[in-house]
Every structure is written in structure tokens, then in C-alpha cells.
């Protein structure tokens, strides 16, 4: 991000502080939610959604992904696709197993 002017940078500092606050709040929310009486499926989705929001904030602002170059985004898009593959395909194969 070497193209940034001093002005821009000062503005983004505010953003960073905001993100920090959001992350802190969301952390507390996840913990609180885990004490709710949710079914394991609901709990799972809630936790993953919150974590994903936090992850997006970190990647998007701290790691500047929201304004990153297409080359990087393409690499990460590919990675993300294969991440989904390795995360879920083995497990799907497992549930489709003839008899466990």
C-alpha cells in the first residue's frame, strides 16, 4: 500500500481502531453464545459465522485484502476453493461410506 498519502493513512488508523473494537465485541459475543442453550448444529453455525466475520475483518482491513491486487486475490480465491475441498470432501466421503 505504498501509494497511500499521509491523509489516507490517518483515516485508516480510525478504521483499524474500529475493527479492533468490533473484534473484541465479537469475541465476547461468541463466548456468550456458547453459554446459550443451543443445539450442537446451531452452535456450530453460530460460532463459525462469527469466526468468519472476524476473519473477514482481519483479512480485509489489517491485511488490506479489500484493496489488494487481483493477482493476490486470484491466488487466494483458488486457495479458498481447495480449502473447502479438503475441509469437506473427505468428510462427505466418510458419511457416504457403505457401512461404517
Amino acid at each position: 500500500m505504498s501509494g497511500h498519502s499521509v491523509e489516507d493513512i490517518k483515516k485508516s488508523v480510525k478504521v483499524y481502531i474500529g475493527v479492533f473494537a468490533a473484534l473484541a465485541v465479537l469475541t465476547v459475543v461468541t463466548v456468550a453464545a456458547s453459554y446459550l442453550d443451543l443445539s450442537s448444529g446451531e452452535a456450530f453455525f453460530l460460532a463459525i459465522i462469527i469466526a468468519s466475520v472476524k476473519g473477514t475483518l482481519v483479512a480485509g482491513y489489517f491485511m488490506h485484502l479489500f484493496s489488494e491486487k487481483t493477482t493476490v486475490l486470484a491466488v487466494l480465491g483458488l486457495t479458498f476453493f481447495f480449502l473447502i475441498v479438503i475441509m469437506f470432501l473427505p468428510f462427505m466421503a466418510f458419511t457416504d461410506q457403505a457401512v461404517i
Binding site: T30, S40, I50, K54, F62, M63, K69, T95
Partner: protein, 198 residues
């Protein structure tokens, strides 16, 4: 003959070399932790005796929450150190980077207490597959923290000479360390709910 685009950006890609390099490295890290998360999902789904649920309930949530906040803060100080460099405020840079290192240290200390508490209760990796994956994931994450600390320390003390000699290059390097550090934070953001809360 210098290698091109070591410091300056290449026109059509808009990047200097190390920037792409670190992103590629992080991509491979995503797959590394992805593989382990996949193992977690796979083992959890095949877990008929409920070791995952009972195991998670033995973990210390308050400590881990505290640690999450510590790590998030360290991410913020990391990015602030880079901002300070951009603004040419070298003193502030050192303070922020030093704080990052300190917070990382706090994280490790907390982790140390968590681990020893487990060992005291006779909980080891071989206790159940839950603790096996717990120790593997957090242990590997910890190795990443330690690696990051070494690099941060390098730029804080011996490597900081470059700040004055090649300031643009130094700023680039700090940006790269920052990317790595945020990634380590990001991994923890997922580790925390997956291991402690589910």
C-alpha cells in the same frame, strides 16, 4: 545486476516480489491448517464416544478468551507499527512493535499455564483424539507465534538499522511481517471457537 521489483512495484502486477511471496506462503499455510481442520471435522464426525464434547468442556474458556483478546490487540499494535513507519514516526514504531512482541509473550505465558494445568490433570495428547488434535493445533499455532516473535525481535533490534539506510525496503518488510502476524491471529480466531466452544 539487481533483481527487479525487489523494492519497487511492478507496473502490471502492482506488487513488489516479497509481497506476492508472502501471500503465496500464507496460501500454503491456509492449506496446512485446512488439512488439520479437516482432520478435526473428520474425527469429530466419527467420534461415537463423545470425547470431543467432554474434552472441550475441560478446557479453560476464560483464559482462552483473554488470550484471544491479547492476540487481537497484538494485531492492532502490529498494524500501528507499520502505520507509524509510513508516517515516519520511528519512535512510535518501536513502541508499537515492542508492544506486539510483549503481547505475543503474554499469549505464550498464558498458554504455558494452560498446558501445565492439563498435564497436572493427567491430560496428554494420547488421552483422546480430542486432546490429540487440541495439542496439535494449538502447538502448531504456538510454533507460528514463536517464529513470528523471532522475526519481530530481529526487526526490533538487530535489523532495525535498515530503517535509516533503506527505509522503503524496511517498511515493506514490516508490512510482510504484519501480514504473517495477522494470519497467525486469524488462525487463532478460528481455533478458539472450534476447540473451546463447540
Amino acid at each position: 545486476m539487481e533483481i527487479p521489483y525487489n523494492v519497487e512495484e511492478r507496473q502490471d502486477t502492482g506488487m513488489f516480489n516479497a509481497k506476492l511471496g508472502i501471500w503465496l506462503f500464507l496460501a500454503s499455510e491456509v492449506m496446512l491448517f485446512g488439512g488439520l481442520f479437516s482432520a478435526y471435522v473428520f474425527l469429530r464426525m466419527g467420534d461415537v464416544t463423545g470425547t470431543f464434547i467432554s474434552g472441550a468442556s475441560e478446557l479453560n474458556i476464560p483464559l482462552a478468551t483473554f488470550n484471544t483478546l491479547v492476540l487481537i490487540s497484538s494485531s492492532v499494535t502490529m498494524i500501528m507499527s507499520w502505520v507509524s513507519l509510513k508516517l515516519g514516526e520511528q519512535k512510535k514504531f518501536k513502541t508499537y512493535l515492542g508492544t506486539t512482541l510483549l503481547l505475543a509473550g503474554v499469549f505464550l505465558v498464558v498458554k504455558y499455564f494452560e498446558y501445565t494445568a492439563k498435564f497436572h490433570h493427567g491430560i496428554f495428547p494420547e488421552t483422546s483424539t480430542f486432546f490429540a488434535i487440541y495439542f496439535t493445533l494449538t502447538g502448531l499455532h504456538m510454533l507460528h507465534i514463536i517464529g513470528g516473535m523471532v522475526v519481530i525481535f530481529y526487526f526490533l533490534v538487530p535489523g532495525s538499522k535498515m530503517m535509516n539506510t533503506e527505509s522503503e525496503r524496511f517498511t515493506n518488510r514490516i508490512e510482510i511481517v504484519g501480514l504473517y502476524w495477522h494470519f497467525v491471529d486469524l488462525v487463532w480466531i478460528f481455533l478458539f471457537p472450534v476447540l473451546y466452544l463447540l
